[in-house]
């Protein structure tokens, strides 16, 4: 059933290209219907998959001579991420309701990207996974380059090149793993059981992990993320931060860690205190957490604050993966979901609700606008999103980051200490942005007339309310009752870490 999400999205993209160019309404409604159908399928698949392990939907030979199968399946991790993709897609369409320029093309690229993302999460053949992974690159480029803002062509090309370089690294690893295992199959399970030599895993792991982690925003390969997020149209930043970065993290887990577990074995020597690739990537993740938060603290552009906060939060995902214990990896997967929802919400508020009315993202200018009084909806929404982003209890981020930190403590206590600093700075930059954008009491500039009242902003529209409500609900539900996802994630993580049948 979940496999339908892929076909549906691609078919939707194809039909969008045939819709009339001049009218925006049919394209919007059609995209919303497709995205909601995807979300409905995701929920149904999630519900029906509870308590089950790996469920295979399709498994047929695709390229028989090379042992490549068209194999779509889902375990707990996939089901949660498909659910996230459905949420992000619906919210993305709702927050793109104001796209008037080449609307049908916009949604065609949007749905193609979504289809590729669904495909990655559901592929259990390494080759197929790679195909979907690359399919997702091209629409990103055009979404940003055509409908973007600040330095969009630069940002789009940077994003495309980073993604493609990352996927080139993955492809080399894929080819090498395929050839080394004897070239019989590219199935994830078959490759995991192929007994790849440790010496091979030792170089394949860092290669493939880095290739995927580029897309997950790992420091120092994160620089595409802030520029890309800022330049992208709102829906595309929501997708980029919400699901595309998860593609990278998911690949790290599903491919790099699961196929090359011995790549994280100790080297047998110590280099600057590092004794294995695991240490190396954990340190990079911790640097990402702290660095992203520090840079976010210094931004003058509201969207850049959110962009760098994504780097910081994705650091938690990578750190969780590198703990290699049950609680840490579970936390990492939950953090993928949580960050997907929260980052989507933050970008929606900053990029759409605020920017479309104030036409600025500069904190210095927003300071003078008294937005808490003039846009109370946006202020409330950002307070909630900010709390969620800070990791306050009652929101999904709390559960996720807590688990990551516990896992990190078990693995190496000082990782937790360093990442904890990141959380504190996270509170600071969210607070600073919140205060400056909404609750600043800077005097109005002389040319404004407080006595006659400020000029009215256009009213908040229903798609904005619906999208905000959807995302807030998701983070609160998971925050209050995390078992709803954890029950699904935990068994899948357990199997994966045990190196068992995937």
């Amino acid at each position: 059933m979940l496999a339908l999400t892929i076909y549906l999205s691609f078919a939707g993209a194809l039909i969008e290209t045939m819709l009339p160019k001049t009218k925006a309404a049919p394209a919007r409604w059609f995209a919303l219907i497709v995205a909601m159908a995807g979300l409905a399928l995701g929920i149904a698949g999630f519900a029906s998959g509870m308590g089950k392990g790996l469920v295979t939907f399709v498994d047929m030979p695709w390229v028989p001579s090379m042992g490549i199968h068209f194999r779509l399946a889902a375990d707990g991790i996939s089901r949660v991420l498909v659910l996230l993709t459905g949420l992000a897609a619906v919210a993305g369409v709702l927050f793109s309701w104001n796209i008037e320029f080449r609307t049908n093309q916009f949604f065609a690229f949007f749905l193609a990207l979504i289809g590729g993302v669904y495909g990655v999460f559901l592929s259990f053949d390494l080759f197929l996974l790679f195909v979907f992974y690359e399919i997702a690159i091209v629409p990103k480029y055009f979404l940003i380059a055509i409908w973007g803002s600040t330095r969009r062509e630069y940002a789009a090309m940077k994003l495309a090149i980073y993604s493609f370089v990352g996927s080139a690294m993955v492809l080399v690893g894929l080819l090498a793993a395929y050839a080394t295992s004897g070239g019989h199959s590219t199935g994830l399970a078959e490759l995991a059981h192929a007994g790849l030599p440790v010496s091979f895993q030792m170089w394949a792991f860092p290669l493939v992990f880095t290739g995927f982690a580029i897309l997950a925003g790992m420091w120092p390969f994160h620089t595409w993320a802030p520029t890309g997020h800022v330049a992208a149209p709102t829906a595309a930043s929501m997708l980029l931060a919400g699901v595309v970065m998860k593609l990278g993290a998911y690949g790290c887990l599903r491919v790099a860690i699961a196929l090359f577990p011995h790549g994280m074995d100790p080297w047998g020597f110590s280099f600057a205190g590092l004794t294995s690739w695991r240490d190396v990537f954990a340190v990079l993740a911790v640097i990402g957490i702290v660095y992203g938060a520090l840079v976010a603290l210094a931004q003058t552009d509201f969207k850049f604050v959110i962009g760098y906060s994504s780097v910081s939060h994705m650091g938690f995902v990578l750190l969780g993966l590198m703990t290699l214990n049950q609680v840490g990896v579970t936390g990492a997967v939950l953090q993928m979901f949580s960050h997907g929802v929260i980052a989507g919400l933050l970008f929606a508020i900053v990029g759409r609700i605020l920017y479309d009315r104030t036409h600025t993202r500069q904190l210095a200018e927003l300071e003078r606008m008294h937005l808490s009084k003039r846009l109370p909806f946006a202020a409330w929404a950002f307070v909630i999103a900010g709390m969620a982003s800070m990791g306050l209890p009652g929101f999904s981020g709390f559960v996720a980051e807590l688990q990551v930190l516990i896992g990190a403590w078990v693995a190496r206590p000082w990782w937790t200490a360093a990442a904890g600093v990141g959380i504190v700075i996270g509170v600071a930059y969210t607070w600073r942005a919140l205060q400056k954008a909404f609750f600043a009491d800077a005097l109005p500039t002389p040319d404004e007339h407080p006595r006659t009242g400020w000029p009215k902003f256009e009213a908040i529209t229903w798609p904005e309310i619906a999208g905000t409500a959807l995302l807030v609900a998701a983070t609160v539900v998971v925050g209050v009752y995390p078992r709803i996802l954890l029950d699904t994630i935990e068994p899948a993580v357990k199997t994966l870490l045990a190196g068992g049948a995937q």
Partner: protein, 509 residues
């Protein structure tokens, strides 16, 4: 050998030659007064029929090939990679002929089609040739045709200039090739590829090693010119830019298929020496070869590796700086030739290498013809092949823009388009032959450089889709041209989604 045998083996070539004469006669005798487009249509259709007849004739060919009387040494082979390459040459020729209908670079359409068919005949012979003399004659037949085709736009100075360059470089390359052949003959005392390969592995062959190396470098120079491998590539950008579009498409596709078929033929002949029993790997990498004589394989693959690396690197990097789309395609052609040369350097006697190379070159030829078709249409409408001529193409002709989108992304190797499968196949073939560090490193380099290639392909697509149009007038192309371009794009997509189709067909030979 008697002439009947010759005739039975060269039926497809004969059909093409007859068609070439028929085109000439019909055009010169009956259609002198007809309007140009009608003449072009008739000539192209006759050419297409000729190619079709040629493909049909392949079914009736004698299946044993043609041998020297008495010795059993092959002159022309039939079946196997030859059949695939020949069928590919004919199909690609048909597609380039369709591009003629909408062009106006010459009034001599009959002659144009006749020369195309004769050059294609040369291509068919190259794909079959197993003897140095036949190889040489067939290569010349193809090359002379290409020189003429390049110069066919008589009112264009660029066309004449590029043809002259092409001719001069070509003549030089031919001289090198012939010189190399003469050494090979000197070493082996035979012009048969099979005999030459046997001679190279004789116990006393080490004595002639220096001679062999000179010969191989000369031959590589001659053939490297044909496939536009760096550093023998200098003709390519000018020719791709100056030649009339259908001729450029022909040069970029058909002549490449023929030349790579010849390289496959040479590698296969070398692999055959080892026999079926032994794991025959022509290419054993250069590492440690200084110790002694290693026959044909090691030096040959070392030369090919050098050509491959320089082609991949220079082709991809120089393409970044191009402003003309045709020149960009020329540099990207070098890059693609580099990837294929890699697979030729690590060649195995199993069908895998052969099939991977054929898969690559055939689908590459198909895609390139499509790309040149789009360039030709845009060029006619805007008068330029500069990147900026593609500004706003998605508005001016949405279908054309979509076709270009599919073709260029396929060339960049984005799945699920056929270019990705071709690359994947090719690299897997390389890694399967040899699992050492060198092939891994070379494949990694190739994959990294194809990441670079996305940048320049996106430069074109950026203009077609992203940047604002300067001129909004719609671009209209002849329905046949549009039909062919859509067909090409559709097959690039379909073969990408169902890669087993073409692979299954290739495996059938």
């Amino acid at each position: 050998m008697n002439y009947l045998d010759l005739f039975r083996v060269t039926l497809p070539e004969t059909a093409l030659e007859v068609a070439a004469l028929v085109v000439l006669v019909v055009d010169l005798a009956f259609l002198r007064k007809a309007p140009l487009q009608a003449r072009a249509t008739v000539a192209a259709l006759l050419g297409v029929i000729g190619c079709g007849a040629s493909i049909l004739m392949m079914l009736f060919q004698s299946q044993n090939g043609l041998s020297y009387p008495g010795t059993g040494e092959l002159l022309l082979s039939v079946g196997g990679y030859t059949a695939v390459a020949q069928a590919g040459i004919l199909v690609l020729t048909v597609l380039t002929l369709f591009l003629l209908i909408d062009s106006n670079f010459t009034r001599h359409v009959g002659e144009y089609v006749a020369v195309v068919l004769m050059a294609a005949t040369g291509g068919l012979l190259i794909a079959a040739a197993q003897d140095l003399l036949v190889i040489f004659v067939a290569l010349e037949l193809l090359s002379l045709g290409l020189y003429i085709l390049t110069a066919f736009a008589k009112h264009s100075g660029k066309s004449a200039e590029s043809a002259m360059k092409y001719y001069l470089f070509g003549g030089m390359a031919t001289a090198f090739l012939l010189f190399g052949f003469s050494y090979l003959y000197g070493i082996a005392g035979s012009t048969s590829l099979h005999q030459i390969m046997l001679a190279m592995y004789r116990p006393d062959a080490a004595a002639t090693a220096p001679l062999l190396y000179v010969a191989l470098v000369m031959v590589a120079a001659g053939l490297g010119f044909k496939v536009a491998a760096v550093p023998f590539h200098l003709w390519a950008p000018d020719t791709y830019e100056g030649a009339p579009a259908p001729a450029a498409a022909f040069i970029a596709s058909v002549s490449k298929v023929a030349s790579f078929a010849l390289l496959i033929g040479i590698a296969t002949a070398a692999a055959h020496v080892f026999g079926d029993a032994q794991v025959a790997r022509v290419a054993v990498v250069a590492g440690g070869t200084h110790s002694g004589y290693r026959g044909f394989g090691a030096p040959w693959s070392a030369i090919l590796i050098a050509l491959a690396v320089s082609s991949m690197v220079l082709g991809n990097l120089a393409a970044l700086a191009q402003t003309s789309v045709r020149r960009l395609l020329a540099y990207s052609a070098m890059a693609h030739a580099g990837y294929i040369l890699l697979a030729l350097a690590f060649f195995s006697y199993s069908a895998e290498s052969t099939n991977a190379i054929l898969y690559y070159i055939l689908t590459y030829g198909l895609t390139t013809i499509g790309a040149f078709g789009v360039v030709a249409v845009v060029e006619r409408a805007t008068g330029s092949d500069k990147m900026d001529a593609f500004l706003g193409l998605h508005k001016r002709s949405p279908i054309l823009a979509d076709v270009l989108f599919v073709l260029l992304l396929s060339l960049a190797g984005i799945p699920p388009l056929v270019g990705f499968w071709a690359k994947f196949n090719l690299f897997v073939a390389v890694l399967r032959v040899s699992a050492g560090v060198v092939p891994f490193a070379l494949v990694a380099l190739a994959v990294a450089l194809s990441a670079v290639s996305l940048y320049y392909y996106l430069q074109v697509l950026k203009r077609a889709y992203v940047m604002p149009a300067v001129d909004d007038t719609p671009i209209v192309a002849h329905p046949v041209t549009m039909g062919v371009l859509i067909l090409i794009a559709a097959s690039v997509l379909a073969l990408g989604c169902f890669p087993a189709l073409l692979q299954g067909w290739l495996a059938g030979f």
